[in-house]
């Protein structure tokens, strides 16, 4: 037993020497919110930019579900490596992540929040959550409103709408729902007839939208808040033969959805700019660390709305997730 302990101890000693000295290039860490196409695209954008700027990018495990219980352990393990120069992350809870990120910030690692934020997302005035360098994000509420407005124009301000959501408790999609509701209020003749949650299971989404179409034969549009709910929605609509008659609006311009838009099965796609957001994090991080540049506290890169009319435009192609 003693011998084993001695061997183990000497191993640890050896290791601590072996890893003490390393060539110095910047090391950034990226901690996504959940394993889904949006963050995968963000990772790709960030990786490309990191390669260009000679930064080493370490990507944390993609959490298997949305929530601080999955993200925080991974995040802590990531920074415990001790060799990270900057962290950019999509916090999965506006409150749970405040102390966690504060501790990381206090240990000397600057933090950028991307896509989602902590507190109320306003880091410009001093508060207990104003320490991150910047919030590069999506305004899900505004996006929801935008979709509602675009749909209303498409439907000439009149009709029954159904919302297919994914997970409750996921702040981004819940904010999309809130924004969508708020956006619809402006149009007195638009009515939200139902909200369902498919828990990211596409088959469930299809079944729920089928049932909604059955309940409301005069349904005019469905808003699927993410890839899986939208795909389920348009499959249900296509099965009933009503493509084109029932408008489908969705979020996230994956290639699959763009193809469906070209085929006329989806009518409106709101694209965020995940790749740009990832690249921006890396670029600003380098500027901040190397030149001490001041970077903006809040940037919302905005949206791009794909419809049948602009999907083939050359300048629109950059917004498709790759």
């Amino acid at each position: 037993m003693k011998k084993i302990i001695i061997i183990l101890l000497s191993l640890f000693l050896l290791m601590s020497f072996a890893f003490s000295a390393n060539a110095k290039s910047l090391k950034f860490a990226f901690m996504p919110g959940i394993a889904d196409p949006f963050y995968f695209t963000m990772e790709k954008g960030a990786k490309a930019k990191a390669k260009e700027l000679g930064v080493q990018l370490i990507v944390g495990e993609f959490p298997k579900a949305w929530g601080p219980e999955y993200q925080v352990p991974i995040l802590k393990a990531l920074v415990a490596r001790g060799d990270i120069d900057l962290l950019f992350t999509a916090p999965t809870s506006t409150e749970a992540l405040i102390p966690v990120l504060k501790e990381i910030h206090d240990s000397g690692i600057p933090v950028i929040t991307v896509d989602t934020y902590i507190g109320d997302g306003d880091y410009s005035k001093p508060s207990k959550y104003s320490f991150p360098l910047s919030y590069i994000g999506t305004d899900n509420f505004l996006g929801g409103q935008t979709v509602a407005g675009a749909l209303a124009i498409m439907l000439k301000g009149k009709g029954k709408v159904f919302l297919e959501n994914t997970n409750p408790d996921t702040s981004s999609v819940i904010n999309r729902e809130k924004g969508f509701r708020a956006g619809l209020k402006i149009f007195p003749d638009m009515e939200l007839v139902g909200v369902e949650y498919c828990l990211d299971v596409q088959e469930t989404a299809a079944a729920q939208v089928s049932a909604a179409l059955q309940k409301h034969p005069d349904l005019a549009a469905v808003f699927g808040v993410n890839v899986f709910s939208a795909q389920g929605a348009y499959q249900a609509v296509a099965r009933s033969g009503l493509q084109g008659a029932v408008k489908i609006a969705t979020w996230d311009a994956t290639q699959t959805l763009i193809q469906a838009l070209k085929k006329g099965e989806v009518d409106l796609i709101l694209a965020q700019m995940p790749a740009e957001m990832g690249a921006l994090c890396v670029e600003w991080g380098v500027k901040y660390l190397k030149e001490g540049a001041k970077i903006p506290r809040k940037v919302i890169p905005g949206f791009f709305i794909f419809t049948k009319d602009n999907v083939n435009d050359p300048e629109a192609q950059q917004y498709i997730y790759k």
Partner: protein, 356 residues
Amino acid sequence: MIGNQKARHIFLSLIRRWIFFFFAAEIVFFSITGTNYFSLKNLQNILLASTTVLLLATGETFVIITGGIDLSVGFVVGLSSVVCAKVMVDLEAAGLSQTLSISSGIIAALILGLLPGLVNGLLVANFRVPPFVATFGMYGIAYGSAEIICNNVPVHNLPTSVASMGHGYLFYWLPGKAFTFLSKPENLTRMELKDLISIIPNVTMITFLAIGVFAFILAKTKFGQHTYAIGGCTTAAERAGVNVKNHLIKVYMISSFFASLAGVMYVLRFITGRAPAGSARLLDAVVAVVIGGASLYGGTGTILGTVIGALIIGALEIGLVNLAIPTYNLHIAVGCILILAVLVDQFSPELVHRED
């Protein structure tokens, strides 16, 4: 001959404790290949990250020893976290002091958390519903109720001292300058904060306290003996005068209690309450118990084994993050370890399960 027997004896005891070696090997492996894996901070991270699995698995150990299974615990975590957070928020809004609202939130959650266990126990013991079915039914009920209570939105705006409790450590040590108990030394500069060493998270302390108490109950008291007896053979236990029904109800309540404790710890750690809080950890907990040497047929298993089982999973998770290895490998690895664990048990049944 004698030497041979001695060697055999050592070999046997090694096999019986294979999970300890596996755990040690895992730590050594990641320490060599990883970056700063073997550090106080990271080891505490492993403990913190394993909190939910540790608690769920401890409760589950009792149930599994009796030959049952409890699937409801995953969502009981969520239910209790939502109730706990909601009570705290509402009481504070009603004007109660922080201490009072926090403690009543915790107590309310722990008491309410006994209810699913009571129902499970009654169904299993008095109505002879198979545990799998009774607790799966409760799984749906607990999830549904939790979502309804929190209205599909995580509970926010908790009293501010929840954060300092949940993120606090027992000791803080600034080498050469300060050593404090429970609260950080005051007026630190940013550089000093960087050097501050925090020792033993509060949450981990409470977790291990609870586990320790119940490890004692299982190993050293009559209650524990009866639990094993029921798992070994229900009819024999009845003949020996054990009130099996009553005992089973208590066991399911213990499991439920640990789930709601995990929910309370969730609120402390993450300062919010969420309905799906522990759902994806449910099967991890069962896996931990089985890796720890319990048999789903009942009658065997220890808390120590379970704790090591949970830590094997936790260390693996953190280790793979440290090495920046993609997530799917984790699922594959855990699946293989699980099957391996049982195979080792199968190939040396009389060796492993012989009483010392």
